[in-house]
Amino acid sequence: MTDTTDRIEQLRREASDAVAAAGSSAALEEVRIRYLGRKAELPNLLRGVAQLAPEQRAATGKAANQARQALEAAIEARGGELASAELHDRLAQDRIDVTLPADPLPAVGRLHLMTRTRREIEDVFIGLGFNVAEGPEIETVYYNFDALNFAPTHPSRLESDTFYLKPTDDLFAPDTQLLRVHTSPMQIRAMETQPPPIYIILPGRVYRPDSDATHTPQFHQIEGLAVDTDVTLADLKGTLLAFARAIFGSDRQVRLRPHFFPFTEPSVEVDVSCFNCDAGVLPDGSRCGLCKGSGWIEILGSGMVDPNVFAHVAQYGYDPEAVQGFAFGMGIERIAMLKHGVPDLRLFYDNDVRFLEQF
């Protein structure tokens, strides 16, 4: 039955040529069906092996099987070639104009400049060993003024300087309610809840009836308080130097200028060396507008806690003869304005997104 094996060989050749000639996956599939499909000749030959004479079965079966395997391998190989060529063609067709605008994922929002600055300051002091505490914005005359050693005649107590809650008929009654004018009342509250040593900063919103480019009726402060047996004015300077360098640059200097605050004695205002100029002079020789030519910028008020303040919390472990410490208070927006060159405080409260997005 050489006819049969010849036929197998012929089919194998035909099929090999057809596989090689197939120019697409679809054409290759036609080839596969033609030579290996249900109705194709080669599989039929294989199925018919059983009917052959026994002496022919082995040779014919083997030949047909080999032919089929060879053909299958050829189709698979050719299929791979074609698929990859076709993919290549498809990708080549799949052209985009790479210069068209992007299709971005939703843009991230921003924290408000006040919040960013507040956190930046908080983190500096946390690194210096301070804890953070918040407290009520609605305060009493006792915490806002009396316990902080404000004289009854201090002008801050006037209705022109402090918002009082309705109804207020006595500006001087200790439990009269007001919006705190500074974060300093939290000094008292903090000492009432924690015995010394205490190292704490007290951020929050404060209020004063005032409105212009550098004043808004609400703004934010960070108070600092460090009380221990041996905290000194030099420690205040070192602490604020570390702060100034962290916020305004590592080559900053600070200087202390004597001042008066009711709740500190001695009291000092703290200036940081201007980061915009060299001793008041800009590179082009003109006068620096930021520090007004002085080379120094006032950033906060501070001092050593007044013994009269300790006297108000003596029962909580603050004996004025046994402990001492410093306190300071700064405006968060003021620090942000200085650092980022924002000219008008009111921008913070307009909340124009185009402003907010810059930071």
């Binding site: 068209l100 605008p101 992007a102 299709d103 939703p106 929002g109 921003r110 924290l111 408000h112 006040m114 919040t115 956190r119 002091f125 210096l128 060993g129 804890n131 953070v132 918040e134 914005e137 609605i138 004289a151 005649t153 918002f163 009082y164 809650l165 309705k166 207020t168 919006l179 040593p197 190292y199 919103r205 009836p209 009726p217 221990d228 041996d230 905290v231 000194t232 004015l233 030099a234 420690d235 300077k237 070192g238 602490t239 130097l241 570390a242 200087r255 202390l256 200028r257 004597p258 001042h259 008066f260 004695e265 001695p266 000092v268 001492q324 409260y349 909340n351 124009d352 997104v353 185009r354």
Partner: protein
């Protein structure tokens, strides 16, 4: 406080430029607000001149054409002058071309009605040394032409404007500033100008004073002057007042002002002939008692206010303002000059209650010392004699006398070093304190320091002395050290970390943080339909818009959304984190609550339109819910949105819900009621939420590890048709309960409505179910069993029909 340098130099004249002096004062505790120039500049052009000729101007009746010798061998100059009193032979003050006048204008050769004028013959007001413009200044004929005018008249000085801190009322006078200048610079200090007293003690004939309230009037001093010639003050005195910012009025009044500016202590001059009975009584007013003050107003007093009365009744409000009745006038010849001391807090209260502030009250309320009153009276005595030609009547009224004996305070060396953190030698402390006129004596462990009377209120403790030493001797060279801290360590609390994380989560999703006003207007509440809510109100708001405190963050969020929309922003995505203010439920006296809220609003396209997606979906309820999910999922708190029991009035009733955190109602979420949104100019949906973040505090524990990778998850989809009234959350809850812990997650991934196919009023929810066991791979049978239980529970509990998958 304005301090003319020319005046200061009479008592202390450091060899420093004004700028350098200002810096030194600032660095030792006296803040300098500004340095100004008062008077003229280009001084070389101001000279003494002699009027050689003065003729009528040919073309102007009121002008004179003068020929003036300005000395130095120069040709006489032709100067046109408009003053009626100019005449040949006068010695006058001349400004030559090139002069710079007080207002900064430069003088040039000018033509007046055709006649050249080489400068000006000067009147007082043109030099800012007086207010007189009626005539030129006529100088002493002994002066030589060409003499620099600045040698003759105080025509130019720099002026320091000082900010005197409330603890230093002693610096409210030029001499007090001179003391401070002496201590700060080491320049010698002249003796106080009140050292020479031309007066005597004893009673004053025809005048007496009774003080009925010595607690409020620690000292009252007065002297009587006869033959007072009321008139103008001399030029030097007027010039100093002008430079200090005070208008000259008449010699007697000018003396009271001059002495106040020099000593710090206010004075009052009574016309003694108008003091009924020559008798003054200092007493508390009766409630409702009335008095006309110098400014012509009638004032009604109360019994805490002090007045000065004579035989006819009240004449002055003590320490605040004199009365009209006993004021000095042109025909005054007898003056009772008063310098008193008052209790500052009482003056402050009176001034506050009456809404009446004066130079006197602002000084007295800072608490002057009794000794200053007599100093001022002595100084006024000299001037009344010298300037007004007055005769001092013998005697001095002095009720109350000097203040308490000076205190001596121990200043311990160890305390100085211990508080400042730098060693200050005892000798240095002594030197500083002595320069400040403290008495100093050696003590075993430091110094015994005696406080001068004029510093009595400010310095009463060791710490106050240390401040003096520190400001003059330690601050400039203070080292910068860090506290020893004794084990204190810094960290944020859990709540503080939670607050930070909340804001970060919202910003990361594209929302911008805003900082809104704590204030809101009644109109805001009305627009949000929450006018009935109790609120915290301000007694003294700056405006009606800021009259109350907010109870919700929504108002400020909408204001900012509106502003940004008006400024062109299409997509608005904002959040705020901060306090709202809730009045206590009942009893007065409790502080209002200040819960920490987080709120957000979103409106406009959820993302910017691009060429790929020209019309992105508009933000709606689900966009807000997405932001809420992003927030609360990142905080890892258990939360859900429930049907609103009682929807907020400002929300869309069908598109709003309640935010539940850890099982407790925490806030609202929803689309704004379209009518409310329209009030902020929004026509499309505005969605948002607001919650009390403090409710999330403490719910967040450190997560425990669970094995989610060793064994595979099996996912199954299941569709169920339920009534529209059944919330999706309930379907999930029933499924979870039925399936037990092997169902690790279940979510709705498709929602389908079709009245014809699934019936009107029904909804088909497609659930994706995630099964996993921690310890084995689940078999198909296990999953199929759970699925059957879920299907059965949905049918039984929710009348659901599970569709075949």
């Amino acid at each position: 406080m304005r301090v003319p340098i020319e005046w200061l130099h009479e008592y202390c004249a450091p060899e420093l430029t004004t700028q350098a002096l200002a810096e030194r004062l600032a660095m030792t505790g006296t803040e300098v607000e500004r340095i100004e120039h008062h008077g003229v500049r280009a001084l070389e052009n101001f000279v003494v001149g002699k009027v050689l000729e003065a003729h009528r101007h040919p073309d102007a009746d009121r002008l004179r054409v003068c020929l003036v010798d300005t000395g130095n061998g120069d040709e006489p100059s032709q100067i046109v002058c408009g003053a009626p009193n100019v005449a040949a032979g006068q010695t006058v003050a001349v400004a030559k071309p090139g002069s710079v006048m007080p207002d900064g204008t430069g003088l040039k050769v000018a033509k007046l009605r055709g006649q050249r004028s080489h400068g000006m013959i000067l009147a007082e007001d043109e030099l800012a040394i007086g207010t007189d413009h009626d005539g030129i200044i006529v100088l002493d004929d002994a002066l030589v032409a060409g003499t620099p005018l600045a040698q003759v008249l105080p025509i130019s000085t720099e002026v320091l404007t000082l900010e005197i801190t409330p603890n230093r009322p002693d610096c409210l006078g030029v001499y007090g500033v001179a003391r401070e200048t002496h201590a700060a610079t080491g320049a010698p200090l002249a003796p106080p100008p009140w050292r020479q007293d031309p007066g005597s003690g004893g009673d004053v004939a025809g005048a007496s004073v009774t003080v009925e309230c010595p607690d409020l009037c620690p000292r009252f001093t007065a002297r009587a002057f006869e033959d007072v010639k009321l008139g103008e003050s001399p030029t030097w005195l007027k010039a100093r007042l002008m430079a200090a910012g005070q208008r000259p009025i008449s010699n007697v009044v000018d003396i009271t002002n001059y002495v106040m500016l020099l000593s710090g202590n206010p004075l009052h001059a009574f016309d003694l002939d108008r003091v009924a009975g020559g008798q003054l009584t200092v007493r508390r007013a009766r409630d409702g008692e009335q008095l006309q003050t110098l400014d012509g107003q009638t004032r009604t007093l109360d019994s805490e206010m002090v007045l000065i009365a004579d035989g006819d009744g009240p004449t002055s409000i003590a320490g605040v303002m004199g009365g009209a009745r006993s004021e000095v006038s042109d025909d005054t010849t007898r003056v009772l000059m008063e310098a008193a001391n008052w209790f500052g807090a009482n003056i402050h209260r009176t001034s506050l209650k009456l809404g009446l502030r004066s130079e006197a009250s602002t000084r007295y309320e800072k608490q002057l010392q009794p000794e200053q009153a007599l100093d001022a009276l002595v100084l006024a005595t000299q001037l009344m004699i010298d300037v007004c030609g007055a005769r001092l009547a013998p005697g001095t009224i002095d009720v109350g006398g000097p203040g308490p004996a000076p205190e001596t305070i121990r200043l311990r060396d160890a305390k100085v070093t211990g508080l400042l953190g730098v060693q200050i030698p005892r000798s240095r402390s002594a030197e500083i304190l002595t320069a400040l006129e403290f008495g100093v004596a050696d003590a075993p462990d430091g110094l015994d320091v005696t406080v001068p009377a004029f510093r009595r209120t400010d310095v009463s403790r060791e710490a106050d002395l240390i401040e003096e030493v520190s400001r003059l001797g330690a601050l400039e060279s203070l080292p910068a050290t860090l506290p020893s801290r004794h084990g204190a360590s810094g960290r944020l609390t859990g709540r503080q970390r939670l607050r930070r994380a909340a804001s970060d989560a919202l910003a990361a999703q594209g929302l911008h943080e805003i900082v809104g006003w704590s204030f809101e207007s009644p109109d805001h509440a009305a627009r949000l339909r929450i006018a009935q809510r109790p609120v915290v109100e301000l007694q003294n708001p700056m405006s009606a818009e800021q009259a109350r405190l907010r109870t919700t963050l929504l108002g400020s969020l909408l204001d900012v959304a509106q502003l940004n929309r008006h400024r062109g922003a299409q997509a608005v995505r904002l959040f705020e984190a901060g306090a709202v203010y809730l009045p206590p439920d009942a009893a007065v006296g409790h502080p209002p609550a200040e819960p920490y809220h987080v709120g957000a609003v979103v409106t406009g396209p959820v993302r910017p339109a691009t060429w790929l997606d020209a019309e992105p979906r508009a933000a709606d309820f689900f966009a807000a819910k997405g932001a809420l999910a992003g927030l609360l999922d990142s905080l890892r708190v258990p939360w859900n949105v429930a049907e609103p029991g009682d929807p907020e009035t400002f929300l869309h009733p069908g598109r709003s819900g309640q935010v539940v955190i850890g099982g407790a109602p925490a806030g609202w979420i929803g689309e704004l009621h379209p009518e409310v949104a329209a009030l902020w100019d929004f026509t499309e949906p505005v969605a948002g939420f607001e919650l009390d973040l403090d409710l999330a505090d403490g719910l967040v524990a450190a997560p425990r590890y669970a094995d989610v990778t060793s064994f595979p998850e099996v996912r199954e989809d299941l569709a169920v048709i339920v009534s529209d009234a059944v919330p999706a959350d309930e379907v999930i809850t029933v499924a979870r309960r039925a399936a037990g812990p092997l169902l690790t997650r279940a979510e709705v991934f498709d929602v389908y409505r079709d009245p014809e196919r699934i019936g009107a009023g029904n909804v088909s929810l497609a659930l994706r179910l995630h099964f996993r066991a921690p310890d084995r791979t689940l078999t198909d049978e296990e999953v199929a069993g759970r699925r059957r239980r879920i299907a059965a529970a949905l049918t039984k509990e929710l009348s659901g029909r599970v569709r075949d998958s």
